[in-house]
Structures are given as structure tokens and as C-alpha cells.
């Protein structure tokens, strides 16, 4: 199992510890690694959903991110 990875979880609401642990465990299981540092950030700018940053890689599942994607797509097609 790999280690020494950092994970940052960004949500629009504050997560309780259990929920946070559940998210981290699910990601660790998927990536077969363990995170040395877990950071949670509350940012209502993302509107809803979740944004996960592992080291320097970002996985955006936020409503803001989806809207930005739509915007970029629209600009690309126009």
C-alpha cells in the first residue's frame, strides 16, 4: 500500500468526522493507499457536491465545477 499522500476535501457544508472518515476510507480503498494528511475545507462557493484534491490532482464533483464545465463547453461550441 502506498503512503505519504495528502488529500483535501472541499464541500459547501461542514462534514462531520464520521462522514469525513468514510470519504477518506473510500478513496484509500480505491487507490490502495493511505493518506498521511487529510484536510477539510468548507467553501460555499462550490454551491454543492464535493471536490477532492489528492496531492496536486483535483477531482471536481461540485456544482460550481459542473457549471464551469458547461460554460467552457458553450464557449467552445460558439
Amino acid at each position: 500500500m502506498n503512503s505519504a499522500k495528502t488529500i483535501t476535501i472541499t464541500t459547501a457544508i461542514e462534514l462531520d468526522t464520521a462522514h469525513c472518515k468514510k470519504i477518506v476510507a473510500a478513496v484509500e480503498k480505491k487507490l490502495k493507499c493511505s493518506f498521511s494528511s487529510v484536510k477539510t475545507v468548507v467553501n460555499d462557493g462550490i454551491i454543492g457536491g464535493i471536490k477532492i484534491t489528492i496531492d496536486n490532482t483535483e477531482y471536481d464533483g461540485s456544482i460550481k465545477g459542473k457549471l464551469d464545465k458547461v460554460y467552457q463547453q458553450m464557449r467552445k461550441n460558439s
Binding site: L31, I47, G48, G49, L67, Y71
Partner: protein, 161 residues
Amino acid sequence: MNIDLMQIFIQAVNFFVVMGALSYLLYNPILKVLDERSKRIQEGNRAAETAIQQREAIDEMKAKAKKELEKEKAAILKEATQDARSSAEKIVEKAHDEAKTILGKAKDQANQEKSRMLGEMKGDIVEAIQTITATVIPKTIGVKDQVKLIDTELENILKAL
């Protein structure tokens, strides 16, 4: 009445002398003058005939030259007409091409402007949606729904990993 033979003889001699003198001094020169006059008339006639012939030849040449000139004039006119027609066609074609280019440019500009406006409009729409969503969603959905949304998106992220 006495016939003086001597007198007759003298008269006869006198007559012949006068006749000879007249013949020598008057008749021959007159004949010569008449002959020369006749020659001059003949020469004049010949000259007149030559002049008439020359005149006819000149007239013929003039007619021929006129005909050739007419032909040349017609050819020049035809060529000029063709040139003018060709130039006119070229000008019209050029004008068409220019009009096409201008129209194409105008269309491109219009399309670009349309695209720009559409892009701006879409940007405005998305911004409005973002603003509305950011304002409305937190108020309309509760913590439970937010948690559900987090779990759903987490599943999607895990699938993508």
C-alpha cells in the same frame, strides 16, 4: 480693138510671178501653220485622253482606297466593340468578385459578431445560473440533501479514479 500679145504675155508672166510669190510666201506658211495646229490638236487630244485615263485610274484607286478604308474602319470598329465588350465583362466580373468578397467578409464579420454575442450571452446565462444556483440551492436544499449530493458525487469521483 488691137490685141497686144506682148501685153498678154507680160500679164501672164506677171500672173505666174504673183502666183509663185503668193504660193511661196503665203500658201506654204499657212499650210505649215495649219499642219502644226492640227498636230497640236492631235497632241492635245492624246493628252486629254491620257488625262481622262489617268483620272479614271485615280478615281478607281480612290474608290478602292475608300473601300479598303471602309473595311478597315469596320474591322477597327468591330475590334473596338469586342474590346469594349470584353472590358465591360471583365469589369462586371471583377465587380461581382469584389462584391462577393465584401459580402463574404461582411458575413464573416456578422458570424464573428454573432458568435461573440452568443458567447457573451451564454457566459451571462451561465453566470446568472451560477448566481441563482449559489443563492437558491443553499436556501432550498438542506444539509441532508447536501450530504446526499456529496455521496453521489463521491461515487462518481471514485468511478473516475
